[in-house]
Structure formats: structure tokens, C-alpha cells
């Protein structure tokens, strides 16, 4: 929560200080393509998906080459079962027989073009999203607000995925229980002046995900990479071993939806 004060400071400053913006051209190097892995194991389904793609240069269009033909397996180390995923559409690897279980440890193994990537993630115990309602943020925008109860034991990490009309928004909301352990949390999901607006007729879904601390660190650093206000910008901290960008997240999720009427 504490880092939020920067948002407020910048917001107040931007209301008051004169500034102007323009699009400029900068010659940026084209780095060698790097693997980008997005892996999820959820407790809500037996269908788990791993997406593999590559980076492109800044000047390229936003189409990211899918990586086909990789060997992808997920192991439930707690249960001692391994599943080999099959490629559906290009770069999308799937299993339909691995229901996520809280407390279980999952291992990801990927082999592609002679490179090996691995990751390990333990699914935390679930927390239920008690309610979702519509509220105003301090900046006057219509936002979703959520209520849930943090468990008594310390060390809970949350990621709140936001979907507007079924499409995930680019807002990244995370929270931990450092300051508010064991309490009923009632919070508006707002990230400052630049947040995308919700309007009457929008259908809002929030999914509360319980994540582990490495995934919290991933989302935290992803926020920093996106904000681009650090003196030393860097890539989000991946929990994947072997030199890839991205993440492997074993999480629980609990979601609610609401129709914006105001």
C-alpha cells in the first residue's frame, strides 16, 4: 500500500504543473529475440494453459511470434503426476487433466530449440471474494470495489485480475497483508489518474487470485516496468529458470461480476 503515495504525489503534481507531450522517434537497438512464457495452473479447472512466444523489436508491429513444437510438461510434485501438454493453436499448450489443488507444488518443464526452461510454484490456500460492488475512486472515476477476509496467518499475496466485458484490462492490482493481516478488506481497485474508465453498461468481472510471494514480486516488478518511472527500468522479475521472460503461476481464484448501471 505504501508505494501508492508516489501515485498521489505525481497525480497532484500533474494537475498543477504545466507540461506538454509529443511523440518522438528514438533509434532503439533490436535485441535478440527472447522467450516469453506465460503459465497458469488454476484450482477452478482441469484445463491448464502454457503460452510460449518471443519478443520482437520496438519498431516491429505488435505481433509476437508463437513458439511451436516445444515439449511442455507440468508435474504435480505433491501428487507425483506428470502431464505432457499438447499444442492447440500455435504456441498455446494445453492439458485437460490437471485440476489444481491448493497446497500442491507444480513444476513446469519446457524444451524448445535446444533450450530448457523450468519453474516451480506452490498453490496457496484459497480466499473467497465476498463481494464486488461499484464505487468511485478518489479521482472521481467509476471503479470496482471488493470485500474479502484476509486469513489469520500472515503471508498472503493477492492479484486482482480485472475484466471489462470479458476482456482482461491492462490494470495490475496486487496487495499483500503486511499492514492489514487478518482483517476484512474493503478496497476500491484504483491506480491513479490514468486508469481506464468504466461506463454504464460495462460488465465488470474481478477475479481474486491467491498467489505466492515470487508471483507477487513478478506482478510488482511488472507494474514498475509498465510505469516507467524508476531511475533504472528493468524487466519484470520472472520465476522461470533458464533465461525467459514471463511467469509460471499456480493460484486459486474466486471471481464475481457486476453490471455498471450508473
Amino acid at each position: 500500500m505504501k508505494h501508492n503515495h508516489i501515485i498521489y504525489i505525481l497525480a497532484v503534481a500533474s494537475f498543477i504543473l504545466p507540461s506538454c507531450q509529443k511523440v518522438i522517434h528514438i533509434d532503439l537497438n533490436a535485441a535478440d529475440p527472447k522467450y516469453v512464457i506465460e503459465g497458469n495452473v488454476s484450482d477452478q479447472t482441469a484445463i491448464q494453459t502454457i503460452k510460449i512466444s518471443k519478443t520482437v523489436s520496438f519498431e516491429s508491429s505488435n505481433t509476437f511470434p508463437a513458439v511451436s513444437g516445444a515439449l511442455v510438461t507440468i508435474t504435480d510434485a505433491t501428487a507425483g503426476t506428470t502431464d505432457t501438454l499438447t499444442e492447440g493453436s500455435a504456441g498455446m499448450y494445453m492439458t485437460t487433466a490437471m485440476a489444481g489443488t491448493p497446497g500442491h507444488t507444480y513444476q513446469l518443464y519446457i524444451r524448445s530449440e535446444g533450450k530448457v526452461f523450468t519453474s516451480t510454484c506452490t498453490m496457496p490456500q484459497p480466499v473467497t471474494l465476498d463481494s464486488l460492488y461499484v464505487s468511485k475512486s478518489v479521482f472521481g472515476n467509476t471503479r470496482g470495489a471488493i470485500v474479502y477476509t484476509d486469513p489469520a496467518a500472515k503471508g498472503n499475496y493477492y492479484y486482482f485480475a480485472e475484466y471489462k466485458n470479458g476482456v482482461q484490462t491492462d490494470n495490475i492490482y496486487i496487495r499483500n497483508d503486511d499492514l492489514v493481516n487478518g482483517q476484512v478488506i474493503d478496497q476500491t481497485l484504483s491506480r491513479g489518474g490514468g486508469e481506464s474508465k468504466l461506463e454504464s453498461g460495462d460488465y465488470l468481472t474481478i477475479s481474486l487470485e491467491c498467489i505466492d510471494s515470487a508471483m507477487y514480486q513478478f506482478y510488482y516488478t511488472l507494474q514498475q516496468t509498465k510505469n516507467q518511472n524508476a531511475a533504472t527500468p528493468a524487466n519484470p522479475q520472472s520465476n522461470i529458470v533458464g533465461g525467459a521472460l514471463g511467469y509460471f503461476s499456480a493460484h486459486t481464484s474466486s471471481s464475481k461480476s457486476v453490471l455498471i448501471t450508473q
Binding site: N4, F15, L17, V138, T225, A231
Partner: protein, 776 residues
Amino acid sequence: MNHKSGSNTGIRYIFTLVLIFSYLITSAQKFTVSGTIKDKKSGEALIGATLVVVSDPTIGVVTNEYGYYSLTLPKGDYKLLFRYVSYNTQEIPVMLDKNTKLDILAEPEDRQLKEVVVSSKVSNVRNAQMGMTKMNVQEMKALPVLFGERDVMKMVQLLPGVESAGDGNSGFYVRGGAIDQNLILLDEAIVYNPSHLLGFFSTFNSDALKDVTLYKGTAPAQFGGRLSSVMDVKMNDGNDKEYHVNGGIGLISSKLSVEGPIVKDKGSFLISGRRTYADIFLGLSPDTNINRSRLYFYDLNTKFNYKLTDKDRLFLSGYFGKDQLGLGSVFGINWGNATGTLRWNHLINAKLFSNTSLIFSDYNYNITVNNSGFSAKIHSEIRDWNLKEELDYFSNPKNTIRIGFSSIYHTITPGAITGANITTTNKPDNHTWENGIYISNAWKPNSRWNIDYGIRLSIFTVFGGTDMYELNEKGAIKDTLKYGSSEVVKNYINPEPRFSASYTLTENSSLKAAYTRNTQSLHLISNSTSSNPTDKWVATNNIIKPEIADLGSLGYFRNLKNNMYELSVEGYYKYSQNQIDYKDGANVLNNDAIEPKLLFGQGRAYGLEFSAHKTQGKFTGWISYTLSKTETQINGINNNKWYNARQDRTHNLSVVGVYEASKKWTLSASFVYYTGDAVSFPSGKSNILNQTVFYYTERNGYRMPAYNRLDIGATRQLAHKKHYSSEISFSIYNAYGQQNPYIITFQDDPNDPSKTQALQTSLFRFVPSVSYNFKF
């Protein structure tokens, strides 16, 4: 082992100097002329004024920080020549057949005839010090300013080897050093955050200031604690002859100063305050985000001094400033510095001047958050108590010895969070003790050499009471070490030799050389591109070591046309150890242990500084140009290879001109150009969570576009009478409206989401301002 043998050498060195010192006391058998040099009209003591013997101008003395001088000469009749910039020179006859007390009242030049801007008050050719500039605050008034505020921090940035940290940032880089490597002192008290309004203004109200001296890493032994520079700011003492009020009304702030005698010729006071009022206009805005916003600051400078006896004088000075920023009742932050200095000047005898100071200094910020069911207060503070003693011994015209100590007790309160439902336990305060003992001598062996040499022994003691950590080879916490609050965790002892010398080639030219070592035990942790009130100071401990820098410099100085033109070239090389940087993605803002997020390495910086200065005439000004390189190497960053520091600026040019067009009008302009900061830009992009995420491959591998800006100003004298004067100043900051980048960000093109683009944000284009100043 290094520390130990080093400190022994240091102690031996000090003993030798003390021996010389005592020898000099017993052997002197001449007469001494001594006293204080003051401004005739205001009674302000003049710092760094020179007195030389007319018949042999190589014999002379410079007044100390309290305007005191002492000159011991064989019996005889002398004429002494007084010289000080913007004062009339005076010849004073002295019959020296006994010890003589001679206070000198210096007459200010008529400003109407001669407008001088920033100039060194000591002849830059003869003085041993290099890498030093003294500035006269009153003389800066002709320069163009932002928002009508004359700001010494901005003026300093126009000097060679000093670089602005950019628009909206009052910080500066000296010879490749970071912002936190500048020791900023106000009447000897450390100012931890010298910025107001997020860096658009500095904490220094120029109406209350007398003298600003900047040492670019070559400070004498009485200063310590920062690697790159010392900015020594001294407040006015206050007029001890008559009452005066002066003030200024500007577009966004106003200020008022009152000064006068407490008892005529014995004591005086000065009170000076200012406040911005831009926030009043915010309330008029129909936009609820703006009219609920608060953003203002105020500050107050006060000083009292009183002459108790002919030999004792007391000074009490204080500064208090506060910034407020907020958004309705949802969010508020206030921050500010407070300093206090109590000083006692005592003349032990005509040749031995003592000053004892008790100094308090504090910086704190408070945040209140009250949003969606979460309400909390955060408080953080750094607080110093400092006891200093310093003796100036004017032993003979060839040697002036300075010996002293300073003992600072630092208390740092990390962000302590309180609130109704807060379940965290706050960290206890961190206590450290910073001691320095020093001795130095200004030695003039003959008419060609001026040599200042000395040593400072720094002793930094880390106390327990807070958790200390032991890290494994990966930098993660292996063990938490518990120490009692009075237990000493570690002592760091560092001898810091200081040496600078000038060799006079001809009457008007000299060569200078200097070597200094500086150490720094407090470090500013910040990972933001702009200065932020919540950047935190962290003390050296068992893992974070004192930073050490060795600086060597060489210079050639030449004056032309009876000192009308001053030219200089200085070159420097600096090597720094125990430099601090952050691991990629480190969150340095929360209260978790900071040590596992830091990496340590080395730095090097080198450069050439050229300066040409015209000090007299209707047209005055200077050109300064610096060619430099600053690099860092830290294991764990940039594949362990050397990389450009953010403040690495190849070229840095400042041109300043002031023209006195008529008796009433003064015109001025300043121009700056510098290479853009070294920054990290993406070298690719990826798609994560269905959005574009940029991909970074190297640290500081790119450059911001070069910065350039012209400011112009004009001042018109409205009234100039004996008891009342006033003037009106106009200025335009960024006169040709250059869009200098404040930040460059990358994003999906809003018009074509299949593409990405670079977006440059600039602050300030054409900022005009007008201010009205008066004095009676």
C-alpha cells in the same frame, strides 16, 4: 588491517602538526594586528576578505568565517591594503609597536556604477584552493530566474563541473557525483532535503543569505561526510546599525525580511520568511481534482547575534521550512527541514580564535492516507545533534593553522506506520555516531607557493538496537543479528588527507594541484527519476560500507587586463569505492530490510573544465564548459561490465551575461546546453497478460536528447533613495520554448494499437514571471 595502519599514520601526522603548532606559539616574538572586517553600512562581517602589506604584497591574511583576521609582523610602520569584491579598496596605516586591535569598516561600492555577477572574492590565481567558487548572493540578483525566485542552488548549476539534475529538480551533480554526495550546509547544519515543491525551488531564501561557497570535491579538512562537494551556505547576521525591511512580491510567492540592531553595534537580528500562494488559485478551479489539491510551502530563517564582550560573541540561527501537498482528505504529505545553530566565538588571544557550535538538524516527512477503508499515518525522520569546536591559529604570515573536531549523533526513524487497523510492527530507530577530527595549515613558504594541507580522521560508529543482517553469497538474508541499543556493531576509521597547492608562474598566472580523499557514511536511497520527499537516508552498517572517493586535480589559472578576465582550465580524475546501486526491480520504498536489495561496486569519473569570466565593466558574465565521463561497475548489473552513470554528460556548457544598459535597466541572459542523461530504454517488447511489456537489455545504454535552454531577464530600478529603494524584475525562463525532455515513456500507439511509440513529456515552455522587490 588497512583501516588500522591508516589511522596510525593519521595520528602520527596529527602529532607532527601539533608539534609544529606548539613550536610556533612559543617562538613568536613580534606584534600582532587583529580585528574584524565589517560592512560599514550593515555591520555584516566579511568572509574571505584579504589584507596585504602594501610594501610586500606576498604577506597577507584572509578573514575567517566570522570576519576575523590576525597578522603578526615585526615591529614597524605598515600600510595594509584591504580588498574585497564589490567593496572599495582601502589603505590603512598601522603603527605596530604593540599588539594592536584594528576593526576595519569596509565601504560597499556604488552598485549603480558597477554590477558584478558571480565572482570569486579571492584572487583565483593566488589562492591555493582549487575547485572552489565563492558567490556573493546579493550579486546574483541580475540573473534571470524561474517563477521570480532567485535561487542559489540554480546559480551553482551554472558553474563549470556542476550539472543540473534537470528541469523540476533542485539537485545537482558535481564532477560525476550523485545528488546525495553533496554536503549542503546552512550555518554549519546539514540540510538533508534542500528542495521545495518537489524540487522546483530550493530551501534557500536568498534574502537571508550572505555567502555561498562551493567546493567541488576539494574541500579543506574541516568538512567531511560527502564524496563530491560541499555547498557551504551562510546566513546574514542582520544589520547592527539600523532597521531595514525588504521584501518581494512575485506571481506565486512573496517574501519579507526584517533586520536591525538589538543593541546598536553590539547585536542584531534577522527574520526572513516566504510562502507560495499558488494553492489559493487552485481553489478557484472548477475541476474537482484541482480544487481539492494542496501544494504550497513556507519557510522561515532567523538569526540573532550579540557581542558579549570584546572577546566573545554569540550567534543563534535557525531555519524552518515545510511543504504541504494533498488531495482533499484522501491523501496528504508534508515534509520539511529544521535546523538550529548556536555558536560562540571566543578570542583566546589575538592570534587564537575559537568557535564552538552546537548544531541541530532535522528532516522529516509525514504521510496520511485515508482511502477506501484504509487509513494510516507514516512518519519518517532523520535527526542530528552535532558538537563542533574549531581553533584558528594565525601563527605568522606564513602559517594559519586550523584544528578542530565535530561529533554528530544521527537518529534515523524509518517510515513508522500507525493507524486504526494496522497490524505491522515498526522498526526501531537507527543510531549512529559520526566523529571527525582534523588539522590543517595554510602555508605560504615563499612568494610563489600557497599550500593548504591537512588531514581529517573520520570515525563512524554503528550502534545496535535495530536488526543487522548477515547475507549469503546470493545476497539473501542468512541470519539476523541482534545487538543491544548501546552495543557498538562496528567502527569505521578512515584517514582523509587533503592537499592543495598553487604555484605562481607570473603575476597573473598560476598552476594548481590538489588531492583529496572523502568518505560518506549516509546514503540516499531513491529509485525515482525525480527528487521525492520520501527518498530515504540510510546509515552505514555492518553490510553497507562508507563510500570512499579519491580525487586528484590539476589546473591552470590566468587573469588578463588587471583581473578583468579570469581564465581557468581544471582537469580531474576521481575513483570511488563502495558505490551503491539497486538490484533490478528492487522495491526500495517499503520497510523490508534494504540490504538484500543493494549491490556495491566502484565508480570512476574524469573531466576537463574550462572557464572564462569577465568580472568588471558594463558587460559581465562567464562561459563554462565541461568535457567529462562518469562510469560505474557493479557486479550483478549490466553483466558486471562498466556502464555510464545516469549523470554521465559528455558536454556541459553554460553561458551567462549581464549587461547594464543604463542607470535604470539591467539586462541578463543565461544559456545552458548539455548531453542528455544516460538512461535505459527498451531494446524490444513482449506480450504478457495480453498487453505490451517492454524488454530491457542493458543499463543506461541510451541517451536522452540533449538539453538546451535560454533564459532572459530585465530589471528596472524604480526608486533608489537613501531610505527606500525598489525594483521590478521580469524574466522568461526557456525563452525560445525548447521542449526539453523531462521523461520519455514508451506505449502502444493510441491511434494504431498494432504499433508502439516513444512519448516525450516536457515541463516548462516559456515561463514568464514578474516580481517586485523593495527595501527601506
